[in-house]
């Protein structure tokens, strides 16, 4: 006799960036299959980067994602600077960190208040949540705007900033131009603290996973642009060795490649990984805030990512204030000579590491490009989370279980637009 079959289907996942669907099959109360399907059409960035100039990579790759363009610009310039033997240091390096602070604030706050919190409180969206939580939603909007203001002043505009170039910036701000940001950032620091406290008292499902966390680690700062690639299973490598340890797979049901660890399979990148691997480099006051708000030094409950994002917003506000207070305008860019070579860049996008590898010729033209965005790395782990989550909560009514599964996907703040543009285009010539 055939047992009872249940299918959880979400044809178009809402409140994520891009187009994805969810398909889960349950037979006789046992989980049969979990698929996160990505049907976002491919855009072939790696293919059309070939034959473009090294100097175009930051502006072109920014277009992979409207939510985290800075991550692509940063990974691209670092990879190119490795080839061209340029070292960006001092306040020029600080300005890059400041730009990243802006992106983390803008992207994390968007996710906390507009995409993720409504799940915990049972709303379809932040607009309907605003009717009963007006102060919180307004706080979120103003906080998000602070991040966007940093991007606007330093990058020219919020989405696809125009000021980043290989070797530095086109134009650096004056001290006076940065000062108004500091005023708003002081408010933002308090708002970020309130955000952490608010997130910590949300009804968070009881759920633990045994993750392999992967993130950058820098000896004396919470990572944005630089560091070694480390994991909770003992990985500790230079970013140039990324390809020795990780591999992308092409599966039938997804337009995004699944990136896995060659020996151990699925792994997790993003706020949980960064936080758990870099707790020691957070300022002590922020460590205290974390520990007072239901977090441990390691966080294995993906639903708590909303609190961890709050902690990272708080850190970004502090770091931005530090940079602005110590700022002295540098020369906008470092000199270099174009030369051929291979370079790697890996930086911490809000959603986790964004890895780029370029090969350029002696005229600076790109011969080969490879980009591994955070969401393609997390895809496999999202499916693993769903597998365990559904097994644990299989008795929930179907409608609620479906919503909870969507929430489990949204824990990752998946950026499907990013993940999809990396289907490799191999061109065979006769």
């Amino acid at each position: 006799m055939k047992g009872k079959k249940k299918t959880i289907k979400v044809d178009y996942l809402a409140r994520v960036e891009g187009e994805g669907a969810l398909h889960i099959e349950v037979q006789d109360n046992k989980l049969q299959d979990v698929k996160l399907k990505i049907f976002e059409p491919p855009r072939f960035f790696e293919a059309f980067l070939r034959g473009r100039s090294y100097s175009e990579a930051p502006d072109i790759t920014a277009r992979i994602c409207g939510i985290c363009p800075v991550a692509y610009q940063m990974s691209a310039v670092h990879a190119m600077e490795q080839i061209l033997e340029v070292k960006v240091e001092g306040s020029l390096r600080d300005l890059r960190r400041l730009l990243y602070c802006g992106e983390w604030i803008e992207s994390h706050v968007l996710h906390i208040y507009m995409l993720h919190a409504p799940d915990f409180l049972g709303y379809q969206d932040a607009i309907s949540m605003a009717k009963e939580y007006p102060e919180e939603v307004k706080r979120g909007l103003r906080l998000k705007k602070v991040g966007n203001e940093i991007l606007k002043v330093l990058g020219g505009r919020e989405i696809h900033p125009i000021n980043v170039r290989v070797g530095g910036f086109y134009k650096v701000p004056t001290k006076r131009e940065l000062e108004p940001l500091a005023e708003e950032l002081k408010w933002a620091r308090d708002a970020a603290l309130q955000t952490v406290e608010w997130a910590a008292q949300l009804p968070i499902p009881d759920f633990q996973q045994n993750y392999e966390f992967v993130a950058l680690r820098h000896k004396d700062e919470y990572p944005f642009n630089e560091g070694r690639l480390v994991s909770s299973q003992g990985l500790d490598i230079d970013i140039a060795h990324f390809n020795d340890h990780f591999v992308e797979q092409h599966v039938a049901y997804s337009n995004a490649l699944h990136c896995i660890h060659k020996e151990r399979g699925a792994y997790l990148v993003g706020p949980l990984a960064r936080y758990s691997l870099n707790f020691a480099t957070l300022p002590q006051e922020i460590q205290q805030v974390a520990l007072q708000n239901n977090l441990q030094k390691t966080c294995c409950n993906p639903f708590q990512s909303i609190i961890v994002r709050g902690i990272e917003v708080l850190y970004a506000c502090e770091e931005a204030l530090r940079i602005i207070s110590e700022y002295e305008p540098p020369q906008p860019m470092m000199d270099f000579k174009v030369q051929a070579g291979v370079g790697h860049g890996c930086t911490e996008a809000p959603r986790g590491i964004c890895y780029h590898r370029y090969e350029i010729d002696d005229e600076g033209m790109i011969r080969d490009a490879r980009i591994v965005p955070p969401t393609s790395q997390n895809q496999k782990m999202i499916e693993e989370d769903l597998r365990h989550f559904v097994a644990q909560y299989i008795d929930l009514p179907e409608k609620e279980l479906t919503w909870r599964c969507e929430q489990a996907v949204r824990n990752y703040d998946p950026c499907i637009s990013c993940a999809t543009h990396f289907l490799k285009l191999h061109i065979k010539r006769s």
Binding site: L13, A14, R15, V16, E17, E19, P41, P42, R43, F44, A47, F48, S53, E56, I60, R63, I64, C65, G66, I67, P69, L110, M114, L115, Q124, D125, A126, I127, S128, K138, L141, K144, K145, N148, G156, R157, I159, H160, I162, N163, R165, Y170, K171, Q249, H250, V251, A252, L257, P332, E406, C415, S417, L423, K424, L425, H426, I427, K428, R429, S430
Partner: protein
């Protein structure tokens, strides 16, 4: 206005980076007021809620790159009273239209790890090549003020006040010194549609064409000016073909000659 039904807004996505629809959520000061005046009926990036069509105002982001999407845009058009494209992808095909320039005959085969899993068209095309579009907002990304202006104009039943002059004019309005004259930077400002308030020259770099070609761009003439500056032909071709492809100047070279 009590009892008056709010018009229904839908936001649709095709091949894109999500940046243009994010612009709506980036209206931090105006967002709640917008939702007072218009009902967000379909906007998956922001809400799980789906209100059935027809929709009064549809904002369309992204270009058409798959057979499925080429069908879907017709359904959306039938279901929308007013349809506005937002951004370079929807308006001109966007950066992914770079594939259109590749001569497929040069490729014997295009092979993925598993090509059979993928369905994609050979071209990336603008929405207006498939359906009637009521208004186009340009930009990679669109400008926030222009988006608010278009929504405002729609709500007040008037024509949007969006300038169609060149970025070059915006530089003059802003008082920016010409980067092509003073820095010899190849700048697309003279042939590019306004909208960004001449951002790049204000940051010491030439315009790279986020807003695409203005009406009647003199591509041949600007190419010649670039050559005067010592820019090589291959670079000129790249400059003219990135986020928006500019019209080919070859065929009109003679009549453009000055």
């Amino acid at each position: 206005m009590a009892g008056t039904k709010k018009p229904k807004l839908a936001v649709w996505k095709f091949a894109s980076c999500d940046g243009c629809q994010l612009t709506l959520l980036d209206c931090e000061d105006e967002l709640l007021a917008i939702t007072e005046a218009i009902e967000i009926a379909y906007f998956p990036e922001a809400t799980r809620n789906v209100v059935e069509g027809p929709y009064d105002l549809s904002l369309v982001e992204g270009s058409i790159t798959t057979e499925h999407d080429a069908q879907r845009i017709h359904e959306i058009r039938r279901n929308s009273k007013f349809l506005i494209t937002i951004g370079a992808c929807a308006t001109t095909g966007g950066i992914q239209a770079l594939r259109n320039l590749q001569n497929v005959d040069d490729f014997v085969r295009i092979v993925y790890a598993h090509p059979e899993y993928i369905s994609t068209l050979e071209t990336s095309t603008a929405i207006s090549q498939h359906v009637k579009v009521d208004f186009e907002l340009r930009g990679c990304p669109i400008n926030k003020e222009q988006l608010l202006e278009v929504i405002n104009a729609y709500l007040n039943k008037r024509k949007p006040n969006v300038s169609s002059h060149s970025v070059c004019m915006e530089c003059k309005l802003r008082g920016t010194v010409c980067v092509m004259v003073t820095k010899k930077a190849p700048c697309l400002g003279p042939i590019t549609h306004a909208g960004c308030k001449a951002l790049c020259p204000a940051y010491n770099r030439g315009c790279f064409g986020c807003f695409g070609a203005k009406e009647t761009p003199n591509v041949a003439s600007i190419s010649k000016w670039y050559a005067h500056l010592g820019v090589e032909q291959s670079e000129i071709s790249r400059i003219l073909n990135t986020f928006n492809a500019y019209p080919d100047c070859e065929s009109k070279e003679e009549e453009c000659e000055r």
